[in-house]
């Protein structure tokens, strides 16, 4: 470790000097230079920091505003900077010139000093990075992703399992437009787009090909592409999965007569019929007078697809309009639950409504049965006509929804593991558990698509309804495998326009990944972070907690079970650090030791002062910004708490909690992002993991004869800043009620 020369700078601006006695505060740093400046962020202030560096300082402690502000001013090359948040956390949220406020400022400064002494400047890893982008699936999305990546100057490998690129649109004779006028059906224009990918030198298209295997990490993925039995190995840097969708299996829609009559078809089959430019009754070739479209066939239905695929209404409008173009005498009746034509597609709806041969009407289709003289009879309930009605039809089109072409990597892996247990001849409880797992997962297993050689499974994890697990709004396109991005209808059901914008978006994400990896930097959300986990393997007991708990499948295992780091897969969340019971894992600027030392640096008043001390671990992603906002709004909170920002609630190692209590803290508050189905945790499982670990913590507390209420976990979204003071204060009150930690002073 390089010798540290500290230089401490206190800022008096932004009401700090009117609330905190800076002269007294300047006494805290011992053995380091300490100066005060009325406004550190102006040219003169920054100048003073620069001159401190010039005269030999290699670590600055800047006690001023929140580390989330003035980052440009307070970043210096090759110099560690520790920001002590005097402004939002102390001056703006506490009584000015109060004894407790002063003590708080002192403690924050002490913690900053410790961290500045112990932490090191991260050094980026340096491995060769290949910047080629692999796009899996050459449908609408894949073609767009490939085209965009190539236009941006990147080599692209495009893999398509069918013999031609183009995907579903190959089957469509008309599409609804993806630009104005939205009421006008258009040709697919697919050939132009295919011509572009064929002519583009940077794009290599593999048709009739699948991905047989992927190993490695971003910048270093080795991909086996199997084309008719031949396997080609290529190296790529990042991957866009654009495997698209398939129609929901209409055979399951028995009540809608799909299995009973050839004249009941899906919208995909209707598409094929329309491509022939002539409609005939499939059963007997007779002309068609009435077509009934059944919307939401199996969609928004708990028994089938609970979600809305967003396109079926528009597809039906398109098909009805096209059918009327081909046969002006034909009548189309559209039976819908709700018409959903997002955005400008209202124009398409109006256009279809304006057509005298198309009737839109609300109703719940009960059944489709064979009627007399070869026609079908459709029973409809809950119509606005106020009664149950029966309609005759020559053709019934079921508007079935879209199912993502994805594979549930985690389920597949658990299924295979359980299978292995059964085949391995286990007996007793183990066998029963394995059999149960197999039975439970049966409906979710499928063939792998990406064939990732990852310890956590061969495909990216999925969330509800087999759509990939990535936060829809906050982190679009991201999967839980760094460098692998989901796009198009496999990410969320959508139309051509949304698929294309997805393709472009995912391509950009892929490009970011390879570019940042080449600089040794993390991707979103710890964008630009250069630290990465270090393993002190001598102490590793191969317990596999880190490899199991890493949400991003970063860690593989060798035969003995020792974790193997793939640094470019890592998002630097620190969850492995929080998981490891042996304190094996650390980052240069974030480790068990650094945080423990910070905890120990806080002055604990003795029992008789009646000044309790609370420790807060607060997640940097949403909760800490909320705390800043609370300060900005001048919301006051208890002066007894000391916050330590953490990378993720999941990165809190329970050793720290133990340290806090043995140091004499009276309570520990953990504030992180929301967990659950609609999680907001930036590292997906962090706050959830903390919930599980806290069970161990409670056990530990009981062992120490401490009340379990002394540890509290709270989940917060970034907008709930106003709840924070209330959370802190109520916790402080509760702790005061419970009383002081008996370990104080030991």
């Amino acid at each position: 470790m390089e010798q540290k020369t500290l230089s401490v700078h206190l800022c008096g601006g932004c009401e700090i000097s009117s609330s905190i006695d800076l002269e007294a505060l300047a006494q805290i740093p011992e053995g380091a230079e300490c100066s005060t400046h009325p406004c550190l962020c102006n040219d003169e202030g920054v100048g003073s920091l620069k001159s401190a560096i010039k005269s030999g300082a290699n670590a600055l402690v800047i006690a001023a505003c929140s580390p989330r502000y003035k980052t440009d001013e307070f970043t210096f090359d090759k110099c560690f900077v520790e920001r002590v948040n005097l402004r939002e956390l102390v001056a703006w949220s506490h009584e000015p010139n109060d004894e407790d406020t002063q003590m708080m400022a002192e403690d924050y400064l002490r913690m900053g000093l410790v961290r500045a002494r112990k932490a090191e400047l991260p050094e980026p890893f340096d491995i060769p990075i290949d910047k080629t982008i692999l796009v899996v699936g050459a449908g609408t999305t894949g073609i767009e992703a490939a085209t965009q990546a190539a236009r941006a100057g990147y080599e692209v490998i495009l893999v398509e399992k069918n013999s031609d690129a183009g995907g579903w649109r190959r089957k469509f004779s008309r599409v609804f437009p993806d630009k104005p006028p939205y009421g006008q059906l258009t040709e697919t224009n697919l050939s132009e787009q295919i011509a572009e990918i064929e002519q583009e030198e940077r794009i290599t298209l593999y048709t009739s090909s699948v991905v047989a295997g992927i190993s490695g990490q971003p910048g270093q993925f080795d991909v086996d592409i199997r084309t008719n039995g031949d396997v080609n190995r290529v190296r790529v840097g990042a991957i866009v999965q654009a495997t698209g969708w398939e129609p929901y299996d209409a055979n399951k829609l028995t009540h809608l007569g799909y299995t009973d009559s050839a004249d009941v078809v899906t919208n995909v089959e209707m598409e094929e019929m329309l491509a022939e430019n002539e409609l005939k009754r499939p059963s007997d070739g007779k002309p068609i007078k009435t077509v009934v479209f059944v919307q939401c066939a199996g969609s928004r239905d708990k028994e089938h697809l609970p979600y809305c695929s967003t396109v079926c209404c528009r597809v039906t409008m398109k098909q009805a309009l096209r059918a009327r173009e081909l046969h002006p005498d034909l009548q189309a009746v559209v039976l819908y639950k709700d018409i959903r034509t997002p955005g400008q597609y209202e124009d398409l709806y109006r256009k279809a409504q304006d057509d005298g041969g198309i009737l839109f009407t609300k109703g719940d289709v009960q059944s489709v049965k064979n009627g007399t003289d070869g026609s079908l009879s459709v029973d409809v309930r809950d119509t606005l006509l106020g009664e149950q009605i029966r309609l005759d039809a020559d053709l019934v089109v079921l508007a079935t929804g879209m199912v993502p072409v994805s594979a549930d990597g985690e389920a597949n892996r658990r299924y295979q593991d359980a299978q292995a247990v059964i085949e391995g001849g286990s007996t007793g409880a183990k066998l029963v558990a394995a059999q149960k797992t197999v039975a439970e997962l049966e409906p979710y297993v499928s063939e792998s698509i990406l064939n990732l050689d990852y310890r956590q499974g061969r495909d990216t994890p999925v969330l509800k309804h087999r759509f990939p697990d990535s936060h829809f709004i906050c982190f679009p396109f991201e999967s839980r495998r760094t460098g692998i991005y989901n796009a198009g209808a496999m990410r969320a059901p959508g139309d051509t326009a949304s698929s294309r914008s997805d393709g472009a978006g995912a391509a950009l994400k892929a490009i970011q990944t390879v570019e940042l990896a080449a600089q040794g930097k993390a991707v979103h959300p710890r964008w630009e972070d250069m630290s990465y986990p270090d393993f002190f393997f001598q102490r590793c007991t191969q317990c596999k907690r880190c490899t199991e708990e890493c949400p991003f499948g970063v860690l593989d295992e060798d035969e003995k079970g020792t974790p193997q780091l793939n640094p470019t897969r890592c998002r630097r969340c620190g969850i492995c650090l929080g998981a490891c019971p042996e304190r094996v894992i650390s980052f240069k600027d974030y480790s068990i030791d650094i945080v423990s030392s910070m905890i120990k640096s806080v002055e604990i008043p003795d029992e008789f002062d009646e000044k309790p001390r609370l420790l807060g671990f607060i997640c940097e992603n949403d909760a800490y910004p909320a705390l800043d906002t609370a300060g900005l709004k001048r919301l006051k909170h208890s002066p007894y708490i000391r916050f330590i920002p953490v990378r993720c609630l999941g990165s809190v190692n329970i050793v720290w909690i133990a340290d806090a209590f043995s140091r004499g803290f009276d309570g520990v508050l953990l504030v992180g992002c929301k967990s659950g189905d609609d999680y907001q945790c930036h590292f997906i499982k962090g706050s959830e993991l903390m919930g599980t670990r806290s069970d161990n913590v409670r056990e530990k507390l009981t062992q120490l004869a401490l009340e379990e209420e002394r540890v509290r976990i709270e989940e917060l979204s970034i907008t709930e800043y106003d709840r924070l003071p209330e959370i802190i204060n109520s916790f402080a009150e509760e702790i005061e009620e419970i009383g002081m930690n008996p370990f104080k002073g030991f």
Binding site: R350, D354, T361, L384, E387, Q388, R390, L391
Partner: protein, 396 residues
């Protein structure tokens, strides 16, 4: 609701409605805003959304046997608030027009009466009939010993003796009433039938009391007063209505004076009534009211469609006719006082043609609303649907 009703959309009939001026019906996406804002619509099975759906489906029988299209007073509130521009108020107006044609006998006359191109022919018929009456006047008079001379100077009775005029109009009016009655009965039966099929006849009020309730409402224009978007329409209707009523009553009085009172009285009442005779005054005020009502209505209908709804030939022909009947009537009287014989006789002749067109074509023109709306209101009241069961209903 156990058995499903077999139903097939009749998009051709829907097209007919579209072609008659209800083209916006297709825009309706069945949100029911219209039924909510309509101050006249009952809580149960409210209109006009129901009618919008039926129209989209082309359910002719339901539409024509629906009293609700006549419960609407075309105030336009619904069209103003419809988020889709489907103009439900206009659609109902078109439906009423088609319903008149549907029920009237012979049906083709509705097509003739309401088409501007047919106007010359439709005027020619009464013109010829009246001319024929004049030609036959003297032969008839001499055969039956009736008077043809009614005094010196300019006397309209010298052109059309009272017996001729009254006989002529009574005959045709009787015919018109008969034909309108047939239409009304067909309509009544259709409504009853539809309700019976749907199993919902309640018959809470006796026919007599229902009729009285409706007449009261007509006299007060109570329902009409709930319309907020087009308050002027009520005023116009009220004025023209009472004007017409006054004229109608005075005409009746004249017949009574001429054929009941005067033959019995020792000193016959003077006829034509002198200018200051209360009956004459009443008639003159009525004629003025009729013309003023028409002027308000015409001005109102000339405004933008978004305010007043669409006006079709069906509306215009009736309105102008009414207006010119009033104008020619006033002119006729004025010319009599001026003793201008030739123009007087010409105008009088025209006035009679117009009056014929107004009264005798009633079963086919917009004037038929007098019959159908009354019948529908009575039916609604009689069948328990009620004509006034939404007391407080702001239109916003």
């Amino acid at each position: 609701m156990s058995e499903a009703t077999a139903i097939q959309p009749d998009l051709e009939f829907a097209q007919e409605i579209v072609d008659s001026g209800g083209e916006d019906v297709r825009k309706c996406f069945q949100c029911a805003t219209c039924s909510v804002v309509c101050a006249l619509s009952p809580e149960e099975r409210p209109f006009p959304r129901k009618e919008m759906i039926w129209t989209q489906w082309g359910l002719k029988d339901r539409l024509f046997s629906d009293p609700d299209i006549w419960l609407c007073h075309n105030c336009n509130d619904c069209s103003v608030h419809c988020p889709r521009g489907a103009h439900p108020g206009d659609v109902l107006a078109i439906l009423r027009k088609l319903a008149v044609a549907h029920y009237s006998v012979p049906g083709f006359l509705a097509g003739w009466v309401n088409r501007p191109a047919m106007l010359p022919l439709m005027a020619l018929i009464p013109g010829l009939l009246l001319a024929l009456a004049v030609i036959l006047r003297d032969p008839i008079a001499s055969t039956f010993g009736l008077a043809t001379h009614h005094g010196e100077g300019m006397q309209y009775a010298n052109l059309f003796p009272h017996w001729l005029l009254i006989g002529f109009f009574s005959f045709f009016l009787g015919l018109a009433v008969l034909l309108a009655g047939v239409g009304a009965i067909r309509f009544w039966r259709a409504m009853k039938n539809a309700d019976r099929t749907a199993d919902r006849i309640e018959s809470t009020n006796s026919l007599g009391s229902s009729f009285i309730t409706v007449v009261k409402d007509i006299l007060t224009h109570q329902r009409f007063s709930k319309c907020t978007s087009l308050a002027g329409r009520r005023l116009a209707h009220l004025t023209a209505f009472y004007g017409f009523l006054a004229l109608f009553l005075v005409s009746g009085w004249a017949v009574i004076v001429l054929y009941v009172i005067n033959p019995l009285a020792e000193t016959p009442l003077p006829y034509p009534f002198p200018f200051l005779d209360p009956a004459k005054l009443f008639a003159n005020v009525g004629a003025l009211a009729l013309v003023v009502g028409c002027v308000i209505a015409i001005r109102d209908r000339l405004k933008d469609r978004s305010e007043t709804g669409r006006s079709t030939d069906f509306d215009w022909m009736f309105l102008w006719l009414l207006f010119f009947v009033g104008i020619t009537g006033i002119l006729t009287e004025a010319l009599r006082f001026a003793q201008a014989q030739t123009p007087g006789y010409i105008i009088y002749f025209i006035h009679l043609i117009l009056a014929f067109m107004l009264l005798i074509y009633l079963p086919y023109s917009k004037f038929a609303h007098l019959v159908y709306r009354t019948v529908a209101l009575v039916y609604a009241e009689h069948s328990g649907r009620g004509i006034d069961n939404r007391s407080e209903q702001p239109a916003q």
